[in-house]
Assembly symmetry: C2
Homo-oligomer: 134 residues x 2
């Protein structure tokens, strides 16, 4: 299957798993998806992730372990794709948006890799705004 | 009772009513609370509101009728106080924040009254950022 927006697909799968409060969710993997999972883990939005080589076909499968509070409340309250293949959204280092005044994070794809809006601001780098998570 | 932040009190009552999915919620009223209710109604976040004179004491009581989808899903997913008595947040007309890229609204208190971030941007007025609703 050809996918026009694999990142949107990943975000949709995470959103759906979160709504249904599933423990984990799997999807076709890629370098950028793994980098995004790494960032979401560091920021405390997911519990963990693992990328494993497919046995029956080329490529890897990414499995994300979702995160909920001890009272089984959701940690992620929303996910929004920002930049899209049809309308790329780039931002300069001095115009990095804040998500709900710092309540959430914007994921920025920069020349130094994926990072949060906070980190991009500190490092004075701009880039493509992949998504908001809050 | 002396209240240090009546707007925060209103937002907390709305947040709690929304979480509990109550049909309506009442609170002490004021001009600015009624203006905020008017804006939230116009933006589709609440169903309606009414301010009535108290019979037993001075002042008015504000009753807000909450809004839910036909499937009884919440319309409001979050409310955040931004400017606070201890830390006022003002913004110039060319720096009005967007809430989740337009998914929500920022309520701005301007010299022309309360308005949404969208309206403030159009009218080129700045002011105090009362809250985000999304």
């Amino acid at each position: 299957m050809t996918m026009t927006d694999p990142i949107a697909d990943m975000l949709t799968r995470l959103r759906n798993a979160n709504t249904a409060m599933h423990d984990d969710v799997s999807m076709p993997s890629s370098k950028v998806k793994e980098a995004l999972a790494e960032l979401l883990k560091k920021e405390g939005y997911i519990e963990d992730f693992e990328a494993t080589d497919n046995t029956d076909r080329p490529g890897r499968t990414l499995t994300v372990t979702m995160k909920y509070s001890p009272e089984r409340a959701r940690i992620i309250s929303g996910i929004k794709r920002v930049s899209k293949p049809g309308l790329r959204v780039y931002t300069k280092s001095d115009r990095i948006p804040r998500v709900l005044g710092g309540l959430g994070v914007a994921v920025v794809s920069t020349s130094q890799g994926l990072m949060t809006d906070r980190e991009a601001r500190q490092r004075h780098v701009g880039g493509e705004i992949l998504c908001f998570v809050w």
